[in-house]
């Protein structure tokens, strides 16, 4: 029979057996026998020799979908479609934002080439909508159509300017920003931050137990990882592949009742950090 118990599962089983043995005052022999029993049980589930029963399904559903603190977010009045604020509605409508029923308070994705282009396109579209809106306003105010056509000629120039700024200027501004910030941080990464309707390039840092988001302009904000309840790595949110096929760290902070999600270009050191934290 092939042993399919992974190292991480083995470690969980060992810890569980040690905990139970300690609580119940088992001898070393009983402890080892319990561990071997748990291993056999896990193996039977893995190989489907023991089919999952109704009680097992209930435990899984309760564990993964029935947690009160998560349900509170999902089912609470703030998540009801009719009562959501304009800002919340816009956030869910946003191309870079997560799905509404698995709401992430703060969201960040890596500041890398393909995401820069996506970001640039999004800013351009927003600017174009604004420019066209202004022009239409003047048009309906009985200004000649020459004004409208003249105004539209500026759009390609505007697009080129924005692309230039995003590719060159913002990159160097981010570099400067990082230099300004505290240098003793344990981990840092350049990201595009999404918070509410605001999407800005910025720096994500971990230092002294805190996760700090510093946008290029505006006030930095931070979260303590003291109440870190759970870290999950995911590519999907509600069955939808998230932006750029990145691996996102989805963090649930119990005290703040906040969920954050972020992806970075180099996830390995962050993964190591969360392994020690959770």
């Amino acid at each position: 029979m092939q042993d399919k118990i992974t190292t991480s599962l083995q470690s969980e089983l060992t810890q569980l057996a040690a905990r139970i043995a300690k609580v119940n005052g088992y001898t070393h022999d009983q402890h080892l026998e319990l561990l071997s029993h748990l291993e056999d049980k896990a193996m039977d589930y893995i190989t489907r020799e023991t089919p999952i029963q109704e009680e097992d399904i209930l435990i899984l559903v309760r564990e993964h979908f029935g947690k009160e603190e998560i349900l509170h977010d999902l089912m609470g009045p703030q998540s009801q479609p009719g009562k959501a604020s304009l800002a919340e509605d816009m956030r869910h409508f946003n191309w870079g934002g997560p799905g509404k029923d698995d709401f992430w308070g703060v969201f960040a994705f890596p500041w890398k080439q393909e995401n820069r282009i996506r970001y640039a396109l999004m800013v351009m579209i927003l600017w174009e909508i604004l420019v066209i809106g202004v022009l239409l306003f003047f048009y309906f105010k009985k200004l000649s159509s020459g004004w409208l056509l003249g105004g539209l000629q500026f759009i390609p120039i505007l697009m080129a300017t924005i692309l230039y700024f995003l590719h060159l200027k913002i990159g160097s501004k981010l570099d400067n920003k990082r230099k300004e910030l505290k240098r003793s941080t344990e981990l840092e990464s350049e990201v595009i931050l999404v918070r509410g309707m605001i999407q800005l390039p910025g720096i994500l840092q971990y230092d002294l137990g805190k996760l700090k988001f510093t946008p290029l302009t505006g006030t930095p904000f931070e979260y303590s990882l003291q109440s870190l309840q759970k870290v999950v790595e995911t590519r999907n949110c509600n069955g939808r592949l998230l932006l750029g096929n990145n691996i996102y760290f989805k963090i649930h902070l119990k005290e703040e009742n906040e969920r954050l999600g972020f992806a970075v270009s180099q996830p390995a050191p962050w993964r190591k950090l969360f392994k020690t934290k959770s």
Binding site: M1, D3, D29, Q30, L32, E33, L34, S36, H37, E39, D40, K41, M43
Partner: protein, 112 residues
């Protein structure tokens, strides 16, 4: 048909000794073997077998030793002892006598 708990409970030592008389095994496999034989008549909970095994070991009817199982992991195998075999024979005899009495009574009551 599910059996009464008392009826299954009274036969636990007999079942474990019977299984081990056929071949030595470790706790998890012992429960599986008994449950496979019992099919839908009764099903043992996995947790119940270990206290029984430890009790039988204290009685001297079985002994245990750690060995490497088929899956390459260390498992605590239980073996029936000569005393255990004697006890099993005695218990089987008692069981047959007991069920014999019940069968005779049932035959009489059916015949009427």
């Amino acid at each position: 048909m599910t059996q009464e708990k008392e009826l299954v409970g009274a036969s636990t030592s007999l079942l474990i000794l019977g299984v081990l008389a056929k071949s030595p095994d470790y706790g998890y496999q012992i429960v599986k073997r008994i449950n496979q034989e019992a099919e839908t008549i009764f099903q043992w909970q996995e947790g119940t077998v270990y206290p029984l095994l430890h009790k039988l070991e204290e009685e001297g009817w079985i002994r245990s030793q750690w060995e490497t199982a088929e899956n390459g992991r260390k498992r605590k195998y239980y073996y029936i002892t000569p005393e255990g075999k004697e006890t099993l024979e005695s218990k089987v005899k008692q069981w047959k006598e007991f069920t014999g009495v019940i069968n005779r009574i049932m035959e009489v009551s059916h015949a009427r």
